[in-house]
């Protein structure tokens, strides 16, 4: 079946795709926004810890379901293991309208100036494809601002002395600190460090038609019951649809981008339910996440691109990155738990850069509320058994007296860390399933150890009587912070897209999601993905005017 031609097809209704769809629709282009998942509502998943995005033991609340599998190599010499979508090793980002932003923790960070210039700041790193971005913080600054004001971010401008210059503050004041963050804030001051309230894509007060946060404990991993969380599903996507120019098509799985004889994209082939559909268009935007966008490009083979669209030099799917979370847990002599979400409220950026002898670093923040199973299954100091009477006593005595501090250590990109198509096995639509391969760079563990030390110091200064470390695992990380697989760059031989997220080889195909991030910063990446999406949309709107020839 072939649909009537339109201007643009955006594949994936997450952070990047949501923004692009809105901006193009605003510019008058006729847009189809494809999403393989559904437009999920709160009542479908409610507050069920065992089916949250963070604890997926009974399945992914926001998709995909466990009929989806990948083959993952856990460790460089290990066998590939088949994992279902709710297994942590699968590297899932949510598959629903809003994508990861439907259930994210909503920390809304700007990367620092050095994060765009890692190679220039630190020099070459052996075994890493560390590189500068082709754009700078200054290029992106107005688009960070746009993301903060259009999506809705609460925070205090100027509170973080290490932040790069900003022209404007946040549209909303920060959320209250809560008991745990207050204690940690005081601890950091004792050390002479610079703590501040975390900027969050959560309304602290009513904003743009959505209410303020009710501070329930079920925040990270859950859809927000009152829609105070600034998901693209509740902000830019409804606005895109309201223009009359954007049609949101859910349960639509893209199969491949089709080219004309000149090597330009002419249509997207996708499944509407089970029916294969061709949607002719003059602009294609791939925003399906770092793993799935790479998969779609690799599956879009043609005479001109026998190894996948934009993959002439074997860079599609390479440099898969996440974050090497490291930090510490501490037990206190009094209750810190106040039942108020999101609980992650205090952070500091003293150790993102400028650590003597280290390449990179991380923002450190206190943890989101630890729900009971997550706590029971993984949080206990060495010496406390995993089960039995002593474990139960530990739970009872300490559940409300624990605080965790950790940070997303900026991973050194490795060319060997990658996703690629399995040569034989296909999913229910006949699309090859993914293989994930690789391991973390040794530098990640060096930096992680340093962050463990800082977190330990912080917890001790705040009054913890028992502190123990949290170190990252060794395997490749394609989880919720997945990035890097369609690198942005100047040289077509060592990157996939240019600084406007446009394929070097095909001028009407763009990739707009975490895939294009050259490096992933020492921060949660969603605000940067949103800012890059505004930046790329502005370029597209200039170059693909409404009313142009379609099909």
């Amino acid at each position: 079946m072939t649909r009537p031609p339109i201007d643009a097809v955006v594949i994936g209704a997450g952070a990047g795709g949501g923004v692009v769809a809105h901006q193009l629709a605003n510019a008058g282009l006729r847009v189809a926004l494809l999403e393989r998942g559904r437009d999920q509502q709160f009542h479908e998943t409610r507050h069920d810890e065992l089916r949250s995005q963070r604890t997926t033991v009974l399945g992914n609340a926001f998709g995909p379901d466990d009929s989806h599998t990948r083959l993952v190599q856990l460790g460089e010499d290990a066998e590939f293991r088949r994992v279902v979508a709710s297994d942590g090793a699968y590297g899932n980002v949510a598959a629903c309208v809003g994508g990861g932003t439907k259930s994210f923790g909503a920390m809304a960070w700007r990367f620092m100036e050095q994060d765009f210039r890692m190679r220039s700041t630190y020099g070459a790193v052996a075994g890493s494809t560390l590189e500068d971005w082709p754009l700078t913080y200054q290029d992106l600054e107005p688009f960070y601002e746009r993301a903060e004001w259009e999506i809705g971010v609460s925070g205090r401008g100027g509170a973080n002395p290490f932040e790069a210059p900003r022209r404007k503050g946040y549209p909303m004041p920060p959320l209250p600190l809560g008991r745990e963050a207050t204690v940690l804030m005081q601890g950091a001051w004792k050390l002479g460090w610079h703590p501040f309230p975390i900027p969050m894509a959560i309304n602290s007060v009513p904003y743009m038609g959505r209410p303020g946060c009710v501070m329930c404990p079920h925040c990270v991993g859950f859809a927000c019951e009152v829609k105070a969380k600034s998901s693209t599903a509740d902000t830019v996507i409804p606005r895109a649809v309201a223009t009359g120019n954007c049609e949101l098509r859910t349960q639509c799985t893209a199969k491949e981008v089709l080219l004309d004889s000149q090597g330009r994209a002419r249509a997207v082939a996708y499944f509407e339910g089970r029916t294969l559909v061709e949607q002719p268009c003059r602009l294609v935007v791939v925003s399906a996440s770092a793993t799935e966008s790479a998969r779609l490009l690799l599956n879009s083979r043609s005479k001109l691109f026998p190894n996948g669209l934009g993959n002439r030099y074997d860079w599609v799917g390479r440099n898969l990155q996440g974050h090497a979370y490291a930090g510490a847990y501490g037990l206190f002599g009094r209750d810190l738990w106040d039942g108020l979400g999101p609980a992650a409220r205090v952070a500091l950026c003293d150790f993102n850069h400028g650590n003597t002898g280290l390449v990179g670093g991380a923002m450190l923040a206190n943890e989101f509320i630890r729900l009971p199973y997550l706590f029971a299954s993984g949080i206990r100091p060495p010496g406390v058994p995993a089960w039995g009477r002593k474990h139960k006593e530990f739970m009872r005595a300490n559940y409300k007296r624990e605080a965790g501090v950790q940070g997303p250590v900026q991973e050194m990109p490795r060319w060997e860390n990658r996703v690629y198509l399995d040569p034989k096995e296909k999913d229910e639509f006949g699309i090859p399933i993914l293989r994930l391969q690789g391991k973390r760079h040794e530098n990640d563990f060096v930096v992680a150890k340093a962050m463990v030390q800082k977190a330990t110091q912080w917890l001790r200064a705040a009054g913890a009587h028992t502190v123990w470390p949290k170190m990252p695992g060794k395997g490749v990380n394609g989880g919720q912070h997945q990035a890097g697989t369609c690198r942005m760059g100047v040289d077509a031989k060592t990157s996939v897209v240019n600084k406007y997220c446009q394929l070097h080889d095909v001028d009407n195909v763009f990739v707009v999601d975490g895939s294009v991030l050259v490096t992933n910063g020492g921060f949660n990446p969603s605000l940067t993905i949103l800012a890059v999406a505004y930046w790329a949309s502005a370029y597209m709107a200039r170059n693909f005017k409404a009313g142009g020839r379609t099909g």
């Binding site: 279902v84 329930c216 139960k392």
Partner: protein
Amino acid sequence: MVSRRVFVGTAVAAAAKPDEGWKTLTAPEAGLLEAVCDQVVPEDDTPGAKQAGVIHYIDRQLAGPLLRFRESYRQGLPLLDQAARKLLGSPFLDLGAGERTALLERVERGEAGPEAAAFFRLVIHHTLQGYYGSPSHGGNRGEASWRMLGIEKHMHEGHQ
């Protein structure tokens, strides 16, 4: 004569059929598993796994999202019983509470082999899920764990 092949097949099929009142477990499996779960979260002055109905969580989920672990239970539960006979000379259910604890500590250390240790780790996780997760999945009856932690008022499913 029934050939050995057919006989074995029938025996497996018979063992795989749940008993009345259960979705996946046989009555003997349920009896043994419940005793193991109650070791993972024992009763003291607050309810243990048995009182909190953790066995119903596992039984129900093995027919749903945890279906892929069903075979692990089929094969793993006999391993624990064999470990009891081999290491302590009695079936698991004939052991006293202290002996059960001591046995499972030895299983955890690998003294009954890697398969038994891996299976016990699985039971630990499923028990903690049933005990600390939402009552809507069959365990945590009366919000036993949430009351124990003093957080039951915060754990409601939503306002709407």
